[in-house]
């Protein structure tokens, strides 16, 4: 009863396990604040189990809304919000619109906060401080890049913001160009301060910053900058792995092909494995070994795109349904689960009945970024996630970016050689074998472009197509279509045919000028002072 005396001390709160702000400028705690800025890279920013609404892989934001994939799951009503996105009926109240924004801005906020702590920390080692400042700018650059490509006109807030109120900012204060300049500036600071190598492999390197800077140029069609910057990346120690399939094995997640990735971990003490590939937890393909969520399902159109002609080259406007006698790019069966084709190293065939809601979403399942249940990186309990990193930038992309720039700079032959590097690696990849291991599982045929490229338009199409095939189901397709300025045309052409195959697309109609970007979340508009925030056109 002594401590129940009646003084004001009695009313002082004792907090348990909480670190006082005054402790936070100690170097070890600044490091921990930086770690937490990395932590939300995987889209898990609170205790909720729905990180699939804010996935790092952009399976919903980059693939489902493109011609590569369908939402999947148990009918159009299951995650109906994503169904609405898939048929371009997106609105500002859809939970994914909100959660993705929250995840990315959480990254911005944590980066800002760590920057402020780092700058005010007096005991922090001066050399290390430069590196860490660079890392935080890299992270902030990444979060803003994602925001820019998804929402377009966004509020830009840096570490000068201290209070909650400072974070209420207009999304039109900066023009698109000014926003890009800010994002570039983050990566430039990162580039200037980052070392060539990092002892802790999850941290970005100087070249990673250059690669990301390249991606900024790419999205602004600054072709000469892309061309120049890629030179530097391509002279670095990064490079292609020999085998396409190996790229997606957990043991290669930090290999030389991976320029920057989100580090996923499992069995690390987090009871629900929320540090794993939690944003992709609904993409489990079903069947006897995997959970049955069945989301992120390759489209018929994507499968058809992998058809090759007799010489092993892709076929333009390749949208008649693939048959068992057709020749295909071997990357198809590494990317897509197809009935009758062995699935990973599991010693069984993928079957039609693995596919959830077959009637709606067809027979195909995801495969490329699915981890074998035999791998120690896979966890076979809820939420069924794995430790395979999500690759934000891998080397193959850099090659393709350079090829794009080369085309635009009229270096068509260089573009051809670059594309051929990608195709050569695919050709050298060990093709999927039948169950006995006696023969290829399908009629694989792939070749490099041997004839000179002379037509710029055709060259551009070939680079775009190669980009689609190489990066399919990695969350990039939609953003590339928008960047290429042909989202409306490609997607409406796709829908016209695809809706005859899949009735869930019956009402899908891409509205050019609107659907290239997602709306600003209604809760941001509602929560900000009236008139501060401008909704994107068409929403």
């Amino acid at each position: 009863l002594q401590n129940m005396s009646c003084t004001n001390d009695y009313l002082e709160e004792t907090t348990y396990g909480e670190v006082a702000p005054s402790e936070m400028t100690k170097p070890e705690n600044v490091e921990r604040a930086i770690i937490s800025a990395y932590s939300v890279l995987n889209g898990q920013f609170d205790g909720a189990s729905n990180a699939y609404n804010s996935p790092d892989s952009n399976w919903s934001f980059g693939d489902v809304v493109s011609d590569d994939a369908y939402k999947g799951g148990g009918g159009t009503g299951d995650q109906n919000n994503i169904h609405q996105m898939e048929i371009y009926n997106t609105n500002s109240t859809i939970i994914d619109v909100e959660r993705k924004w929250m995840a990315l801005y959480e990254g911005v906020k944590r980066s800002n906060e760590a920057l402020r702590l780092l700058k005010t920390s007096e005991d922090f080692d001066a050399d290390l401080k430069v590196k860490r400042l660079a890392e935080l700018h890299f992270l902030r650059g990444h979060y803003y890049f994602e925001l820019k490509k998804i929402y377009n006109h966004i509020p830009y807030i840096d570490e000068s913001a201290e209070t909650v109120g400072d974070y209420a900012k207009s999304n039109t204060a900066l023009t698109s160009e000014e926003l890009w300049a800010k994002i570039e500036q983050n990566f430039q600071i990162a580039y200037d301060g980052l070392p060539d190598t990092q002892a802790e492999i999850g941290r970005p390197t100087k070249i990673a910053a250059k690669a990301y800077l390249t991606k900024c140029y790419l999205f602004q069609e600054k072709w000469q900058n892309v061309y120049d910057a890629t030179s530097e990346v391509m002279q670095s120690s990064y490079g292609l792995l020999d085998d396409f399939q190996d790229v997606f094995l957990p043991e290669n997640e930090n290999s030389k092909e991976i320029i920057f990735s989100v580090q996923h971990t499992v069995n690390d003490g987090q009871p629900s494995n929320y540090n794993g590939s939690i944003g992709d937890r609904l993409t489990a393909p079903g069947g006897p070994f995997y959970a049955q969520y069945g989301f992120h399902r390759p489209s018929q159109n994507l499968v058809n795109a992998f058809k090759t002609d007799v010489t092993g080259l892709p076929i333009v406007n390749n949208n008649t349904n693939l048959t068992s006698t057709d020749m295909v790019d071997p990357r198809l069966d590494i990317t897509v689960g197809r009935p009758g084709i062995p699935y990973k190293d599991l010693g069984i065939l993928y079957e039609e009945n693995w596919a959830r809601d077959l009637a709606t979403y067809g027979a195909f399942g995801p495969k490329k970024r699915i981890v074998s249940v035999n791998s120690s990186a896979y966890v076979n309990v809820w939420p069924y996630v794995n430790a395979l990193n999500y690759y934000i930038i891998r080397y193959a992309e850099v090659i393709l970016w350079r090829a794009e720039a080369a085309v635009e700079l009229d270096k068509l032959e260089e573009a051809r050689h670059l594309v051929n590097q990608i195709r050569m690696r695919a050709a050298n990849t060990a093709a999927v074998q039948n169950l006995n291991g006696t023969a290829d599982a399908a009629n694989y045929k792939i070749a490099t472009y041997e004839n000179s490229w002379i037509d710029k338009v055709q060259a551009r199409e070939r680079v775009h197509l190669e980009t689609r095939l190489e990066l399919a189901m990695e969350g990039h397709r939609f953003f590339n279509l928008v960047r290429w300025g042909k989202a409306g045309q490609v997607l409406n052409d796709y829908l016209e045919v695809e809706k005859t195959r899949r009735t869930h697309l019956t009402n899908a109609n891409f509205k050019t000028g609107t659907n290239e970007y997602w709306p600003i979340p209604q809760r941001y508009i509602d929560g900000a002072p009236s008139g501060m925030v401008t909704q994107s056109p068409g929403y």
């Binding site: 580090q263 987090q270 929560g527």
Partner: protein
């Protein structure tokens, strides 16, 4: 008018002709029914203003001027007497107790008061009326019984309950403070044995509750427990009942063939050729196969799963109590056992309780004593009323074609959708018990000297909890678990309350004065730890301990606390029980508000008992009349601890990162714990009440009517912060907004008896109108996106906004179905719609149908709640019928989300869909079936909103009391009882009493009346005996 002697003074004086003029003093003594002196009794001389009251020894003296004279002797709680004085001999007057309800003693804050003198709003109930209701929690027994008091319950044995007093006064915590024997309770009431309860009162207005200050803004439930009496008795009471409970009005889902037929219909509506893995490829008709899987281990069946998960369940209660007392010591001891099986299989609640109360008098002026209950509770529960993890919702969705068991005798797998076999789920969790030991009570000492009473009391509510949750391996095709795991958690909490009061009570002449001052300190502490492991070699219950798991060892632990320190005072004065005034003030200090610890909360109430005025003389016809009013303020600081504290902390779900590139290790991160607000202040409720109590026909007919108006300001709101601040901390506690509740309460009763027949009719009526009148920081409040998924399938279906009631339903306005292509074209806003689809309104009239057309589409709040209690006695028989009802509230029937729409075709549907719209069945109100749902019929809309009004026979009881002559000295009552005999409602779901989604989350008041498959209430028949020796 308070006379109980049937002669009026006037009629007497007319008969008297002889008068002697004198100037003398009349002396006498007034005794109570046990012969003890009665201080403070009033003696008045008829036809004059002369009067006096008895002193401490019951003596009085009164000057009189003529003889014979008539004096009137009255004392609250006793029948008023008149005596005709012929001579001046010393009088000895013995009073008789008045069993009028106006004289019942009401326990108020830190004291007690006769009902007659209460000027505040206090509802009370005799526990004997309700203790035989077969439920674990005394809260549920109060349903419909008290005006102004609304009971919400999740219906599960030992499950969540909430009391709402006079509506919803605030946003965050609307639960009233519960005080048992002076000790605030933090662990709920399901550890209390209802049979131990002596009195229950609900302090409704600020005048009655403000003495409890900071935690009283939502009203106070004051409970006292039984003790032995002072009159030398020895009493043994045995109370036993046994009964059976069953479900009723379960929804009808499609059977196996009907489902196939409608799947075909939906598919054809979409212009597709029907086909299904299970129901075959015949485009004309769906076929039930012999086997559901290629291994031929699951034969097709036809099961009504909602029926299958239910059972006829037993409920039993045994109580034995002994009490003994005399002037020097009083004891009461009781033992209770209560066991309620759930009507959902493998759920249930058990309680073993023991109570010992004692009082000892030392000398003439010291009393020490204690009240303690120890209870052991055991509960097996299952999720209900949520989008994910509700066993009831799962049973509705589970395919009828799946049999109970497969050919291996295991619960059959489900090849159609990802819902686990409901019986399999229940069976797997049947040993996952939540076990709790609670100790609740206080020790006290009281010193009485002259007119002062000093009291100190140390109260404790302690509870230790243990839970072992095991999830075994199973494989039900689309739902499975490959690795077994066990999670064990242990926690304890205590709330220590130290209360010191000094009470002064004085009566002089007709004046009564009571003064109370006090101080109270409260400390709450909570600590828990837990661990989990996977890979148990065997799954038998004797392996379900952490050590026997082989993999993935994890653990956690945490603690929190809060404190209060308070000072309070109260002065009560009445003159002749005619003019009644009370003033109260409480000053509270809380640990939760860093910069604004202290708040002061005053209240006043006054009453005028007109029936004691000379001019008020209607005889027995209009026998009592009290007008009263009150005004007061109460505070609220109930927000999560540390809301004002700025700090950083680690959470391994979202602040760690594998920076070194490994697959199984992370580096530790620190994240801002919350968005603090150093300047948080007290939320304050200001409440006024005006009421009157009327009695007619010698108080056989009583009527109490009250009007209240309650305004809450500076509401503690978990405000949405700019979405650019990220999502880890999605809000900040601020003071913002105002909420208004006003309402009317009526309590009407009539009791009478003639010869062998007695009856009592009581009606209570409650209305409240809740409105959020101001909210500055945001336009509305809702459920955060982190819980929206598991609760609502990621949808917003309710909102709390200015000018609306808290938790109002929000969505599109559905306006019937399109009957033909022309109607679709005329409407013009829904190009994808077809005949049979839902027509949605362009609510804002901007010519576009989009999310801006969402609007308020219903309210979960009733216009009126009523309770009707009818009791009859005839000779030794007694019959009680209790009805209650709710009128004007809506229900958002979210079960339709999966059971009414074929765009989640794999889940079973409601049989109502057999009547879905088709061109041939165009009168239907049920939208056409479609797998693709191009019109997005499934969107949140008023299509889901239904009228939730009901009226039901809550309880019927018939008893027979066996004459004590036959059973020498023993009184024995045998009774039979039934609950939920019938319900009249238009609601299409199982039951219209929905309540909250969650009874412990901080958002619970923003989510009211949304049906996601609730635990059904039960219809119960019990037989019981009550014997007193």
């Amino acid at each position: 008018a308070t006379d109980s002697i049937p002669h009026s003074i006037d009629s007497f004086s007319k008969k008297t002709s002889l008068k002697k003029i004198i100037q003398q003093t009349l002396k006498g003594v007034v005794l109570d029914d046990t012969g003890m002196p009665l201080p403070g009794a009033s003696i008045t001389l008829a036809k004059t203003t002369n009067g006096t009251s008895t002193d401490f020894d019951g003596n009085f003296s009164l000057s009189i001027t003529e003889l014979p004279a008539t004096i009137r002797v009255s004392y609250v709680g006793f029948k008023t007497q008149e005596h005709i004085i012929e001579s001046l001999s010393v009088l000895q007057i013995q009073m008789e107790p008045d069993d009028n309800t106006l004289n019942e003693v009401v326990i108020t804050g830190y004291g007690q008061e006769s009902r007659r003198n209460i000027t505040a709003s206090i509802a009370s109930i005799k526990p004997s009326e309700i203790t035989s209701i077969p439920t674990s929690n005394v809260t549920e027994m109060l349903e419909g019984r008290l005006p102004g008091v609304q009971i919400l319950s999740d219906n599960s044995p030992g499950g969540g309950t909430s009391i709402r007093v006079r509506g919803y006064g605030t946003i965050n915590n609307n639960d009233p403070l519960v005080v048992v024997d002076g000790v605030p309770v933090s662990n709920g009431l399901n550890g209390i044995n209802p049979n131990d309860i002596e009195t229950i009162q609900v302090l409704k207005d600020a005048a009655s509750s403000s003495i409890y200050g900071s935690r009283a803004a939502n009203g106070v439930v004051v409970i006292t427990t039984k003790n032995g009496s002072k009159n030398g008795s020895y009493k043994v009471n045995l109370d036993v009942y046994n009964g059976v409970q069953s479900s009723f009005n379960l929804p009808k889902m499609l059977n196996a063939q009907q489902y196939g037929n409608l799947l075909w219909q939906a598919s054809k509506n979409d212009g597709q050729t029907p086909a299904s893995d299970i129901y075959g490829n015949d485009p004309n008709t769906s076929t039930i196969p012999k086997w559901l899987n290629s291994e031929q281990t699951i034969p097709s069946g036809d099961v009504s799963w909602i029926d299958e998960i239910m059972q006829v369940a037993e409920v039993q209660s045994y109580n034995l109590s002994l009490s003994k007392g005399d002037e020097k010591a009083q004891h009461s001891f009781s033992l209770g056992y209560f066991n309620q099986e759930g009507i959902i299989k493998h759920t249930g609640f058990k309680r073993y309780s023991a109570r010992f109360n004692s009082n000892y008098n030392i000398g003439d002026f010291v009393t020490i004593g204690q009240n303690f209950t120890a209870s052991y509770k055991e509960r097996v529960s299952v999720g209900t009323n949520s989008a994910l993890g509700s066993i009831v919702y799962n049973a509705l969705q589970f395919p009828s074609i799946v049999p109970l068991k497969d050919s291996h005798g295991n619960y059959a797998g489900n090849p159609l959708n990802d819902i686990a076999n409901p019986l399999g789920s229940l069976n797997r969790s049947k040993d996952n018990k939540q076990k709790s030991i609670q100790a609740l009570g206080n020790i006290f000492a009281e010193l009485t000297r002259y007119d002062f009473t000093a009291r100190t009391s140390l109260g404790l509510d302690y509870q230790a909890n243990n839970y072992r949750g095991f999830s075994p391996v199973y494989d039900e095709i689309l739902s499975k678990n490959d690795v077994n795991s066990l999670s064990t958690t242990n926690s304890f909490n205590y709330q220590l309350t130290w209360t010191n009061t000094l009470h002064y009570s004085k009566k002089f002449n007709l004046n009564s004065l009571d003064i109370l001052i006090g101080q109270e300190a409260i400390k709450y502490y909570d600590e828990g730890f837990g661990a989990s492991r996977q890979g148990f070699l065997y799954e038998d219950p004797n392996f379900r301990y952490l050590t026997y798991g082989t993999q993935n060892q994890l653990n956690f632990g945490e603690a929190s606390e809060w404190k209060l320190n308070s000072y309070f005072g109260q002065a009560k004065y009445n003159y002749d029980h005619k003019y009644l005034i009370t003033a109260t003030v409480r000053r509270d200090g809380t640990s939760r508000l860093a910069n604004n610890n202290w708040g002061t909360f005053p209240s006043f109430s006054a009453g005028w008992r007109l029936d004691r005025e000379e001019f008020f003389d209607f005889g027995d016809t209009f026998s009592s009349f009290l007008i009263r009013g009150s005004w007061g303020q109460t505070g609220n600081q109930q927000l999560p601890s540390y809301s004002t504290v700025d700090s950083y902390s680690n959470n391994n779900a979202f602040s760690d990162y594998g920076i070194n590139g490994g697959q199984n290790s992370v580096s530790t991160g620190l994240t801002q714990t919350r968005v603090p607000n150093r300047n948080l202040e007290w939320e304050t409720s200001t409440q006024s009440t005006f009421g009157f109590d009327l009695g007619f026909f010698n108080d056989k007919l009583q009527l109490t009517a009250e009007y209240f108006n309650k305004m809450t300001e500076n509401i503690l709101v978990y405000n949405i912060i700019p979405l650019t601040y990220g999502g880890t901390n999605d809000g900040q506690w601020i003071n913002d907004g105002k909420m208004k509740n006003k309402g009317f309460e009526l309590d009407l009763s009539y009791a009478d008896n003639s010869n062998d027949f007695g009856y009592n009719i009581a009606l209570n009526l409650t209305t409240y109108k809740n409105k959020l009148t101001e909210l500055n920081s945001v336009p509305y409040l809702g459920i955060p996106s982190s819980t929206l998924h598991s609760v609502n399938f990621d949808q917003e279906v309710s909102r709390s906004a200015v000018d609306q009631s808290i938790g109002s339903f929000y969505g599109y306005t559905a306006n019937g179905l399109f009957q033909n292509v022309q109607e679709v074209a005329d409407h013009g806003l829904q190009p994808n719609a077809q005949p049979g689809d839902i027509r949605f309104e362009d609510s804002n009239g901007d010519g576009v149908l989009d999310n801006k057309d969402r609007t308020f589409i219903g309210s979960p709040h009733p216009d009126a709640l009523i309770g009707l209690n009818l009791n009859f006695t005839y000779k030794n028989f007694d019959l009680g019928l209790f009805f209650n009802g709710s009128f004007g509230n809506d229900i958002y029937n979210l079960t339709k989300y999966k059971t009414h729409f074929f765009n989640q075709a794999a889940y079973n549907k409601d049989s109502a869909l057999l009547n879905a719209w088709t061109p041939e069945n165009s009168g239907s109100s049920i939208a056409r079936l479609s797998l693709d749902d191009p019109n997005n019929n499934i969107r949140p809309s008023s299509y889901y909103v239904e009228n939730g009004s009901y009226f039901k026979l809550n309880n019927a009881q018939l008893g027979y009391t066996i004459n004590s002559d036959i059973l020498s000295g023993m009184e024995l009552r045998i009774y039979g009882q039934a609950t939920n005999l019938f319900t009249i409602t238009k609601y299409s779901g199982m039951n219209p009493q929905i309540g909250l989604q969650n009874y412990s989350s901080s958002n619970r008041n923003l989510d009211i009346g949304v049906d996601r498959g609730i635990y059904p209430p039960s219809r119960t028949f019990t037989l019981g005996i009550n014997a007193t020796f």
